[in-house]
């Protein structure tokens, strides 16, 4: 009797190990990546955005981003534009939610107005760039369905299908590096017609606080329009110790003034 229970348990474990579905493996990887990045608390970073059109002409923007990590609900973030000068001080405050749409406010410095805006526009471009709003919002595990595709060395490739029907993608192919804290190396975006739309490559990774991998460069290439957007991150600060009050509408106005 005792032996048969052990055998049964052994068999059950074995079966799970072998028969883990690609869906189960996919979500396991996404959760491992989330766990690896837990506990950063808050951070600030300066961003240089370079927009390149198909003729190679470039245009630059400078932004600052503050992030507050929350575990029960999605993260909060505050982005301020420093250039171009005519939009200097324009700022956005976003409360990401694991379920449902995000809450977002826009600060317009010319008239000192805070405006709640719809977060419905997921697929639209962020300030004329090749990044859609959904590419830049906090990546919560709950926002996708997962399918493990294959393993290549230390890279794990997982297909992610957006839960939100308003997403501009049918799927994303995400390459995780399991030896480097499940950091993301590359994302390929497939449009609503399931054609390859964009490739985002993360490079110049640095390890902060001996735990958190952050890429210094994001390069998004649009294969259909031949346009590119480069994001360069500098001055990462994980010691800022920000609180909820730093992500209030009062703080949004202060950041843009």
């Amino acid at each position: 009797m005792k032996t048969s229970i052990i055998t049964l348990l052994f068999l059950a474990t074995f079966t799970v190990g072998i028969a883990q579905t690609p869906q189960e493996r996919g979500i396991e990887i996404a959760k491992a990546a989330e766990t690896a990045d837990l506990g950063f608390g808050s951070s600030t970073v300066a961003i240089k955005m370079t927009l390149k059109n198909k003729n190679g002409q470039t245009s630059e923007r400078y932004l600052e981003n503050k992030t507050l990590e929350l575990t029960e609900d999605g993260d909060k973030s505050l982005i301020v534009f420093n250039s171009p000068k005519d939009v200097k001080g324009t700022a956005t405050l976003t409360f990401t939610h694991k379920q449902g749409s995000d809450d977002q406010w826009l600060y317009l410095p010319a008239i000192a107005r805070v405006k709640r805006i719809s977060s419905n526009n997921k697929s639209g471009p962020f300030v004329g760039s090749e990044f859609a709003y959904e590419d830049l919002s906090s990546q919560e595990v709950e926002k996708y369905n997962y399918t493990f595709i294959k393993e290549e060395g230390s890279n794990l490739i997982v297909e992610q299908d957006p839960v939100d029907p308003k997403s501009g993608y049918t799927r994303r192919l995400v390459t995780y590096n399991k030896d480097k804290g499940y950091r993301i190396e590359k994302i390929e975006f497939y449009d609503r017609k399931n054609a390859l739309l964009k490739t985002l490559t993360y490079s110049n990774y640095k390890l902060y606080k001996n735990k958190f991998w952050r890429a210094s460069t994001f390069n998004m290439v649009n294969h259909q329009s031949n346009k590119e957007t480069l994001l360069e991150f500098s001055d990462y600060n994980f010691e800022v110790d920000l609180a909820e009050e730093d992500f209030s509408q009062v703080a949004l106005k202060r950041a843009g003034s």
């Binding site: 171009p84 000068k85 709640r116």
Partner: protein
């Protein structure tokens, strides 16, 4: 008197800033916008001495210094305009204040601009700053208001704002050469006060701002010198204008649901000579990224009501606003706003168009048109502007 007040404020800030900067890391920023503008009124002037062509130049310098990781700072925004209309030639300190934030509170002392409200066609609850009525027709330019503002942020119950407003600023009206004026030129110095303390009446205001789920709610109260002068007509026909002491309670609500923004603003204003409610409410719906290339088209509709009827300075007593906001979301931030306000009781209609675009990284261009159509001669305010349709082009360079 006013200039002396501003100068003292500036000097004391300056000394304070200097003492602080010696010990802590600071960041400073300076920016200047130079704008050239041309306004063309294409219909014959209704009143004598009014012009048709108004070339103009404006300067907008900005300076800020921050320390204590940005939790403390001094912010300055100046303004100067030169125009053919002597009254529109004016300067102002839009903002000059010291600010300190710590944990769940923020304190601002100095001249500042504060915006309240959610609607697009009229800004009823927004009362802290005086309107710079000569600068623009839409009333969105404001004069710097001296204040002490204290904000208290709670995670559960929203934000509470307390304002102490020690000085009132009068509204400037266009001069003899200016368009968009009344038959009689109103000199701002001729407009008096109900309060014996005049512009030095010590005013107060309060606002509670709360957010839960799809709802953004603001409740406010203001007690002090009104920002709008009150016009009373005596039986002999003489117009008397003064700033009444008012109590104004305001509420503004926005519900953000998918691509819909539902908005309402309402005020109740009480003064000895006046007692009324006003309301503006409607919706905004945005079709986003419709071409897969970032094109957003928003549709706006709002209803405007004002119990003052034709004495409402805004001339929006029972009107309908409709409009469309088109944003291309391109590198140049090209956007167009078209709209119209039509009176539900008579034929009066105001059409407007505003378009803007960036060129390179330091230039912007704007086009604006306001067209007064079939303005009813019985309109107390608007009838004066019935020949004042105009086109405006401006080009700005940022340094």
């Amino acid at each position: 008197m006013k200039n002396a007040f501003i100068l003292i404020a500036f000097l004391s800030f300056h000394a304070f800033a200097k003492a602080q900067t010696e010990t802590k890391k600071t960041t400073q920023e300076f920016e200047l916008e130079i704008e050239t503008e041309y306004r063309y009124f294409y219909e014959n002037a209704q009143f004598e001495q009014q012009e048709d062509h108004y070339p103009s130049i404006a300067l907008r310098p900005e300076y800020s210094i921050e320390w204590n990781k940005g939790y403390e700072g001094i912010h300055f925004k100046g303004f100067l305009r030169l125009d053919r209309d002597n009254e529109r030639t004016h300067w102002d300190i839009r903002t000059l204040y010291y600010q300190k934030a710590k944990n769940n509170w923020e304190l601002s002392i100095g001249l500042k601009k504060v915006y309240w409200g959610v609607t697009e066609s009229n800004h009823l609850v927004d009362i802290i700053n005086q309107t710079d009525a000569v600068e623009s027709f839409d009333g969105e330019d404001k004069l710097g208001q001296p204040m002490i503002q204290f904000s208290w942020i709670t995670n559960r119950w929203g934000t509470f704002d307390f304002f102490y407003l020690p000085f009132h600023r009068k509204r400037t009206f266009p001069g003899t050469e200016g368009r968009l004026r009344f038959a009689t030129v109103i000199d701002k110095d001729d407009v008096g006060y109900e309060s014996g303390a005049q512009e030095w009446r010590q005013d107060i205001a309060f606002r509670w701002k709360y957010y839960i789920g799809a709802f953004d709610i603001g409740v406010s109260h203001f007690y002090g010198n009104g920002r709008e002068p009150l016009f009373t007509v005596s039986p002999t026909g003489t117009i008397n204008a003064f700033y009444p002491v008012i109590n104004q309670t305001g509420i503004d609500i926005q519900i953000t649901h998918n691509a819909f923004l539902w908005k309402v603003e309402s005020i109740y204003r009480h003064a000895k000579a006046q007692d009324f409610i006003a309301l503006v409410g409607g919706l905004e719906y945005t079709f986003s990224n419709i071409d897969g290339n970032g094109l957003d088209i928003g549709l706006l509709g709002e209803y405007l009501y004002d119990e003052r009827d034709e004495l409402a300075l805004t001339a929006l007593q029972n009107d309908l606003f409709f409009g469309s906001r088109i944003a291309f979301n391109d590198i140049q931030d090209t956007s167009i706003l078209i709209g119209g306000i039509t009176d539900l009781e008579n034929s009066s209609t105001i059409m407007s168009l505003e378009a803007s675009r960036r060129f390179g990284s330091n230039w912007t261009a704007e086009i604006e048109a306001r067209i007064f159509n079939n303005v009813d001669t019985s309109e107390f305010i608007l009838a004066n502007f019935r020949n004042d349709s105009f086109l405006r082009v401006s080009i700005s360079r940022f340094f």
